[in-house]
């Protein structure tokens, strides 16, 4: 490398580590305190994400029940859906609820909690190789409808 190039290279290498953490830390407070509209957006996103995971689990169990997937594939799909549903609930639960949304928040978090519980139940059945529970598939269907309806 030529001597004339060195200042440019050094400048890039020095500036990047200094600027990046500042940019990343700029948006991070201890607690997120969105206004009502921003909270609505977050809630809608959490409900949509959870609904997507519930629908994935339903598809995975139905496919496994028809012998279209093998057990490890189904297990991985359902476990990852369970983790993602849990993340959706936790992310929203960590947000400070605006006073105007106290009642709505309770209902939304309750719905998300139901989603996490039902997906966990589905995971337990998938790991045990019990895919043919029509009642569970119906429950997943209903819950997915509820989540979709609750998300504006």
């Amino acid at each position: 490398m030529k001597r004339s190039q060195r200042p440019t290279v050094v400048a890039v290498l020095l500036v990047l580590p200094l600027v990046l953490p500042l940019v990343l830390l700029g948006g991070c407070g201890v607690v997120a305190r969105p206004d009502a509209a921003a909270w609505d957006d977050r809630a809608a996103q959490a409900l949509t994400d959870a609904g997507s995971q519930v629908a994935t689990v339903r598809l995975a169990l139905a496919s496994a029940g028809e012998g279209r997937t093998w057990s490890s594939y189904t297990t991985v799909l359902v476990v990852q859906a369970e983790e993602a549903a849990g993340r959706a609930e936790e992310d929203l639960a960590r947000v400070q609820v605006p006073a105007a949304r106290a009642d709505t928040a309770a209902a939304v978090l309750d719905l998300l909690d139901r989603a996490v519980d039902l997906v966990a139940e589905a995971r337990a059945r998938a790991v045990a190789g019990r895919y043919d529970d029509a009642g569970l598939l119906d429950d997943l269907d209903r819950l997915e409808g509820d989540l979709r309806q609750a998300a504006p």
Binding site: V9, V12, Y73, V76
Partner: protein, 410 residues
């Protein structure tokens, strides 16, 4: 006969090697959320990669020298360095995503967590880069990648409403729930996935490795103009499968397991096994290509011996780079970062780095000192300039769209 076989093999490996983790994930995500309304971007991206791959292949065949070597010489060390840094960062990011993709594919058949698989994948990739012949890497993994044709077969078996799929090709058919900003973000991501810079570097460096001459330009063009578009059809099939199964169900794609689920629904266990083999081949093949590309680009820029046909002792620097990037990639993945997230970031940053990659190729392809009578003709130059404008727009729009849509969340 041997020549026809070479053409056929080249086309087949180009098809099988076209799709990587970025194409798999981005096409499935787009299909699940936006149906087939962004297929036109895949078409634009495939034509673009054909235009620049042909140029870089022609440069390799005529000058017998690789891209970074010529860029540094023709445009000077500063422009060459900028080109190197932009391309290297994106290629390294893609390399990390590909190794993560291999681990995710193996997780689907073993149910062992991908973090436990990553070190073994990294060692396997490094051994292949160290020991395997260039043609073996290209041909074996490229041909295995053809297993992804299962997506097209599955689409047929799923029996979608073909009229609805065709109608959905229009951007006006974008689902109402998605904003235009989200539509544009995924458009840029798809474009970045289709035109990933490493594909061109690997293609041209491979040409130098295999000692292409002017006589090979015809075969090279057949590989590019037939193989890449057919590879693009696989990308469209992935998006259409996701559009058929996930869009009505309201599922967004976040895992590799979800990408394969429509094939399981359409074809059952055997089809699923074939497609998981395709996942493995596509990601492992791309891991080798991106790993080699980082070694190629650094070695070519700094001018030390490189390549699979040079003895490791003579190309020690090249092989040390391969080892360092493999260890780095495994180290990054072992922090617990989600390989799918790395993939999403890599395709967007790929779009950002595109001008740095493709502008120098256009300049060198126009220089008669290097290409003689094989310099760009009017068609290649017109397409090259038009694509540079498109690439510049995509690169400028990428970061604002990433921020506005929170990486496509909404």
């Amino acid at each position: 006969m041997k020549r026809y076989f070479a053409v056929l093999l080249g086309i087949l490996t180009a098809i099988g090697g076209f799709v990587d983790i970025g194409d798999l994930v981005t096409n499935a995500q787009v299909g699940a959320r936006l149906g087939t309304s962004l297929v036109w971007v895949v078409v634009v991206g495939v034509v673009g990669i054909c235009v620049f791959a042909e140029m870089s292949g022609r440069i390799a065949a005529v000058s017998h020298r690789a891209t970074f070597d010529l860029v540094r010489e023709r445009l000077g060390p500063r422009m060459g360095f900028l080109n190197l840094v932009g391309s290297m960062l994106v290629t390294l990011l893609t390399f990390i995503a590909e190794i993560g993709g291999v681990a995710l594919a193996l997780q689907l058949v073993s149910s062992v967590h991908h973090l436990l698989i990553v070190p073994f994948v990294a060692v396997a990739v490094w051994i292949v880069l160290w020991r395997a012949r260039f043609s073996s890497i290209e041909n074996v993994l490229g041909l295995m990648g053809l297993a992804l044709i299962a997506f097209a077969v599955a689409l047929w078996q799923l029996g979608p409403d073909w009229g609805e799929l065709a109608t959905g090709l229009s951007p006006a058919e974008k689902p109402d729930a998605e904003s235009w900003a989200t539509y544009a973000f995924f458009g840029v991501a798809l474009f970045g996935a289709a035109m990933t810079p490493y594909e061109v570097f690997f293609f041209s460096s491979g040409g130098v490795e295999e000692r292409w001459t002017e006589k090979d330009i015809g075969v090279m063009r057949a590989n590019v103009f037939i193989g890449f578009p057919l590879g693009g059809i696989l990308s469209v099939a992935i998006a259409a499968c996701a559009a058929t199964v996930f869009l009505p169900a309201g599922v967004t794609v976040e895992t590799l397991g979800q990408v394969g689920l429509p094939v399981a629904i359409g074809l059952g266990k055997i089809g699923l096994a074939v497609v998981v083999l395709g996942f493995f081949a596509a990601t492992f093949g791309a891991a080798c290509e991106t790993g080699l590309s980082t070694g190629y680009s650094l070695a070519q820029y700094f001018g030390f011996p490189w390549g699979k046909y040079v003895r490791p002792r003579e190309a020690a620097g090249f092989h040390i780079i391969l080892l360092v990037v493999t260890v780095t990639a495994a180290g990054v993945l072992l922090t617990g970062v989600d390989p799918i997230m790395v993939t999403e970031i890599s395709v967007v940053f790929s779009a950002i780095a595109l001008p740095l990659t493709y502008f120098p190729i256009l300049v060198v392809a126009n220089d008669p000192d290097y290409l003689g009578e094989h310099v760009n003709g009017r068609v290649a130059n017109t397409l090259g300039v038009v694509y540079l404008v498109v690439i510049a727009v995509a690169a400028l729009a990428a970061i604002p769209l990433m921020i506005v849509t929170s990486m496509g969340q909404g």
